[in-house]
Amino acid sequence: MSEMTTTPPAPPEPPAPSQSPYLDFGKPFTFVFEDPDWLKKILIGGLFYLASFILIGLFFLLGYCAKLARNVAAGVARPLPEWDNLGDYFVEGLKLAVIAIIYAIPFVLIFMIPLIGAGIAESVGGSDDFAAAIFGGFGCLMVPVILILVFWIPVALLFAAVSGRFEEGFNFSAIFGFIKNNFVNYLLAILINLVGNFISQFGVILLCIGVLFTAFWSMLVSTYAFADAYRLRRK
């Protein structure tokens, strides 16, 4: 009796990424499940999400998302990376975290002004109303500033991740040009990010611990959406 040596046929390749100029709203939510090893990758990612509670895990997650962003931007059919090169993920994630921190520093300093002002007002015997007015005034100023940050930082991280160069995170003209020329797709990506975050909260239904894995999935959804907007960019 001859021994069977045939291997099972490989699963069919998923369709090539869309060439439409607009972001596919459904694809970021489903691309994970097209990967034959998606369950393994999500389960391991959930553990790293747990490790992000002690901060260090966050660097691995950022590094993993950077690799995913590069794959999506390059149009790879199955872009979900393996959890194999942990050292590289950590180093890249650390660089991306530094970019985000550098962007946050001026805004943290601005936020310190009302704190110091209110402290001085109180120490020289000023009324609580005056301190509250300082806080309120700066609070109103901070809203647009935070909105700008929410718009800007994902693109800065995306540019640094896709190019693999730290300095690209501070290429202000390129980042501004990307947002201006691809505003519709970028807004769609932000909307996908919000929807993904909302859905991920239902992971708590999966015996509480499920939220770790759905939260990681929502990170992948957001990364795919932003990276796909980059792939479809108009220069």
Binding site: I44, L47, L86
Partner: protein, 155 residues
Amino acid sequence: MTLGSRIAASLFAAAAAAVLAAAAFCSYAIAHGASARWRILFRVLCHGIESRCLELWGVSMPICARCTAIYAGLIVGIVLFVIVPSLRRRLVPSVVLALAIAPLAIDGLTQAFRFRESTNSLRVLTGMIAASAFALWAMSHIERGSRRSEEGTLS
């Protein structure tokens, strides 16, 4: 054991230990006069229904017995992976993981759909088994991936 596995094992164990330590500290603080509202901080991780939680210093922990056992089980699985060399040599099959998670899923889901009410000892037992097996399974996959990438770097 590869460097990647060592990093992952330390990270996962430290994170699980941090959650358990925070929950224990919250119980200690409440038992010594702090407001029970501190339990709300743990709502992002767990429902924290008091009748389903283990007691520490005479007060309910802020995370349920199942979650407590899951975090403890992760530590047990990781420690087993580190100290038993034979566990590192081959991949833990996914079917073993599925079998280990099945009791937890049955216990949790039959309770969620209100067919029955579980007990804390059952929550702890099923949570420990599932989480230990999960940690072993995940670590064995990380070990294989890291070994491949290390061999790729060397060759």
